[in-house]
Symmetry: C2
Subunit: 187 residues, 2 copies
DNA sequence: GCTCGATGTGTACGCTTGTTCTCATGAGCG
DNA sequence: CGCTCATGAGAACAAGCGTACACATCGAGC
């Protein structure tokens, strides 16, 4: 046998789009095991690429994490803004927000975890704080399509708290409770 | 000279209360440099004790961090509950809450940072999640002295979100805004 | 078809980490 | 006093980390 039937690694020389794939894989690792476990080696293993490949494509681990979070924020913020833009009026906007919270966010543990992990990472890493602030400002701007700036800020804070509670508490609030609270605060 | 004039370390053999001091020092390190920087060595250096002393007094680093956060939660929760207990009625309770948020929490970066660091640590460490849940439930119970359970929960979520925003955002809300939002939600 | 620069690979280095281990010490008790 | 054992001290270890680097490989332009 000059060539093994099933090589352990497919010898992926010339792998265009690897950079992109690394960003996605990094996000997966963060979601599954947390930002502190998102090491070069863990991401390399998950993406099935050699260790050196990471430092070739990204100057540092922080760069890679920033790229990953940045992509995630882009995705979520764009989706949210699209929905808010489609709302005909304030009442509809609030209902969409409830749907967004209870359906998407609380429904998919992944996004919830990623949100908290971003807070975590940003709390100590200045390079990632820019991503968090981008997220906060885009979220607020979306809300401002139907709420005045001050109110948008209040609602945003409540949403952030609900997310945190849902992630860390044992018994999260249900859709009806969230709707009721949002209506009162946005009243 | 058989004995140096100023020994680098006072040879603190028999140091009763060292365990307590280690817990406090751990909290200081967490507040100043974050929970990820709170290593055995960092805490030992800050407390001016040898490295081995930490694993002697605490089975593991997690144990030490849990003890530290637990003590902090005790302090803050007790202080908060005392104030809420002293409130004659609902309106006064809300005002005290505003004071608590704007004065104590947002006034002292230390408590704010510790709150976020606890979220961070609990997000990944199951042993610390118990401390977070203890904090959340005590905070809610204090609020329930003047608010019904459902409302207490809503207010608690808003407070959590406000804390997070204050810690990570560039322009925190002022006391008047916070008061207004709390009044509306607790209405 | 050859060269050259971009990309991929694998190893190594220096460092920090949590934890363990052995030995020294001295306070409390008979 | 003398014993004993909880406590203190400091060195050591294995593991994991980010990063750097030397070498292989291949696509594209001449």
């Amino acid at each position: 046998m000059s060539a093994p039937a099933t090589p352990a690694r497919p010898a992926r020389r010339h792998d265009p789009g690897r950079r992109d794939r690394l960003v996605d894989t990094a996000l997966d690792v963060i979601a599954e095991r947390g930002v502190t476990a998102a090491t070069h080696r863990a991401i390399a293993r998950a993406a099935d690429v050699p260790l050196g490949s990471l430092t070739y494509h990204f100057d540092s681990l922080t760069d890679l994490l920033a790229a990953a979070f940045s992509r995630h924020v882009d995705t979520v913020a764009a989706r949210f803004d699209e929905r808010m833009r489609a709302a005909p009026d304030r009442a509809a906007a609030l209902e969409i927000l409830v749907e967004h919270l209870t359906g998407d966010l609380l429904g998919s543990p992944r996004d919830l975890v990623l949100a908290v992990e971003l807070y975590v990472a940003a709390a100590r890493n200045p390079a990632l704080r820019a991503v968090t602030q981008d997220w906060m400002s885009r979220s607020r701007r979306s809300l401002e399509r139907h709420l005045d700036p001050v109110n948008a800020r209040e609602v945003d804070a409540l949403v952030e708290g609900l997310v945190l509670h849902s992630a860390l508490s044992t018994d999260p609030m249900d859709a009806a409770q969230i709707r009721s609270a949002l209506r009162r605060l946005a009243g």
